[in-house]
Amino acid sequence: MLWPVVRRALIFLVSTLVASLLVFWVLDNGCEPARVALGTGGTPAGVQALCAQMGLDRSLVVQYLNWLGGAVRGDFGTSYVTRAPIGPGLLDQLTVTLWLVFGSMVVALLIAVPLGMASALRNGRPTGYLLSGLSQVGVAVPAFLAAILLVLVFAVNLGWLPANGYVVPAADPLGFVAHMLLPWVSLGVVQGAVLARFVRSAVLDELGQDYLRTARSKGLTPVRALIRHGLRNAAIPVLTVIGVNLVTVLVGAVIIERIFTIPGIGNGLAYAADRRDLLTVQAIVVTLVLIALLISFVVDVTYSVIDPRLRTRAAS
């Protein structure tokens, strides 16, 4: 029982180290950061001096170990572009993005579960085709297109909701929801359509199971039988997909944050990349990757605890 969890935790740790090393290696660009920091005022001698001062002339391994030493304590260093410590701002941005992702996942589930179930129950009938078609179209619409259209209709034309901006939830809960509603829906609708297809196939799988046939033969309606017996089983693969897709949503929030001027981690990343602030880019990318790996670790562990077959397979 314990060993598989420990084993997965070890894999998670090693993966994180490998991933951060990979990011570090890809983003290594010699003395370039020193040149960027000095801008038009940089002379070759000045760049060399700053490069040495920033420790960029040392070997990559030494730089990585130094960085890692700080990173595990939450200290991602001081940006050479903004001259401010990276860590504190990162946490603020992450909080904002997690609000965005969490809310959009709620919207996605609110759409996906009824839509997916309905299209599974109506499988093979015209309404079934219509509903699957709807989710196919939903998958094909880029989230940024949805966002632009929602802003046009609900903010600019109807004036019901603010077009963009962010309010801290603790300061003004209602304002927070008003500002986040359109971003949540923009990300959630598309994600909901993606999930609806998984819900549909998971429910279809369950509908084919013997115990459900038995339940139905005992006189339960398909919906009742499904809700009473099948839903929990169908939830497992759907939750896995949510876990995997969270990473994509987290990164996909970049564009939504840009359109709605939400000061989240995606905006921070695009911003830092624009300015060639490699140290900040590195910190944000490692954070995102860490979250991604953490999610898959949690999903893995939950899975192996829930499903004994997987537990034994993992241990073998």
Partner: protein, 533 residues
Amino acid sequence: MRGKRSGAFTALLTVLTVGLVGCSAGSTSTPSTSTSSPSTAASGSATDGGTSSGPPTSQASTSAPAGDGTMAIGFVLEPISLDFTQTDGAAITQALLLNVYETLVKQDQDGQIVPLLAKSFTASPDGLTYTFQLRPDVMFSDGSPFTAEDAVFSIDRVKSDWKPSVKAGMDVVSSATATSPTELTVVLSAPSRSWLFNMTTRIGAMFSRTGVADLANTPIGTGPYTLQAWNKGDSIVMERNTTYWGDPAPIKTMTLKYFADPNAMNNALLTGGIQVVSTVQTPEALSQFSDTAKYQVIDGSTTGEVLLSMNDRTPALADLRVRQAISYALDRKTILDAAWSGYGTLIGTHEAPTDPWFADVDKYPYDPEKAKALLAEAGQSDLTLRLALPPVGYAAAAAPIVISQLAAVGITVQDSDVDFATWIKSVFTDHDFDLTIINHVEPRDAPTLFGNPDYYIGYDNAAVRDLFAQADRATTDAAANTDYQQALDQIATDAPVVWLWSFPNLIVADAQVQGIVANQISAAFELATISQS
């Protein structure tokens, strides 16, 4: 970006008589300036040995009472840090200069240099010694008084601690001394008309001797506003400075909101998220704001010139005939109409409409046939050029039209998007480009661009350089003016770049907003003049 030395000709500013240009729809700023006639020009012309003393406060145009109002203004570029002594970047200066930091002297709306933290100033007849009488009642926002010692500290610090290349503007100072707590004496190593002008820019900002520990996050100045919060990636909040020496700012809390996406900024104005769009980046979207009962469009001028810069060092573009052909090939009227909805002014050489020597020169009117003939003559009938486009709206807007018109005379253009860091490296530093489109925003920057053969354009004309140097040493406005005009005329003939248009200061605001400075003649965006009815 574009940290260039402002090659400025201070005294020439004093003959400016240009007022507000083309304000429309309930525009702002009552022109209360009375010093715009040439007869009073000498008062600010320090090198002529005159004395200048201004009105007690600089906010002459606002008389609105100081209320509890709040306002949000949309900006494009968020500052990278708040320390403009270490980092280049127009956004820091835009947010902080004249709002948090003040200078001894400033430019008024007519481009004249008037006192600010100095009550008055005099210059010796040889133009080498300046004496500033400082206001006795000025406090920094950290509570310390502003004295001549702080002024000396600030000037010396430019030389010792500043990093951006603009610090070179202080090189001409040989000494700065506090002759009394309220008297500052500055001795120059050579007469320089640009030095006093530079004192109105960020290098003239006055810092507290005890307040420079954390400039990147905690700016301490004497201005009408103090920094309250910087929500990175979102906004800067400024609070009225309650101990300000002049008239208090009418709006208590000013939020500078930053939008990476220009459409988001427009939408925010449409939905009440902000009250002012400080720079319109998509003029085609202005039709959304045509309801004059709700919105006002301010169409002033800036000191920026949008250039199609050519790398005069490449073999093809070193040939005058090729540069002339490119100039002839472009129909700048159409470019301005299609790219920037006709806002802005067409210019034929490096000058802004607010410059006293602004002349309607057009040495290379649109003539594609002549362009083809010149290209054939130069043996460049099959020319391919690269075009580097920085991430700015005007470049993206003008590029398709420029490419189309150059194609019509047989020049193939390959464009690529570059970010600012790449632009600075490949275009600005390494001279590795053929063409680029860029707005040179700084005032009086012709000597920077065309007086230095190592500048990225690579324009090399010794006669023009001599004229610029002569102008900087000139003892009268008229003499400097003549030299300047002659230089600009020669530059126009040599066609080192194509001047696409003079950049307008396009602002949209709620109809109730008053006091926005229409003509942007400095790098600052003044907040303390703004009020709301």
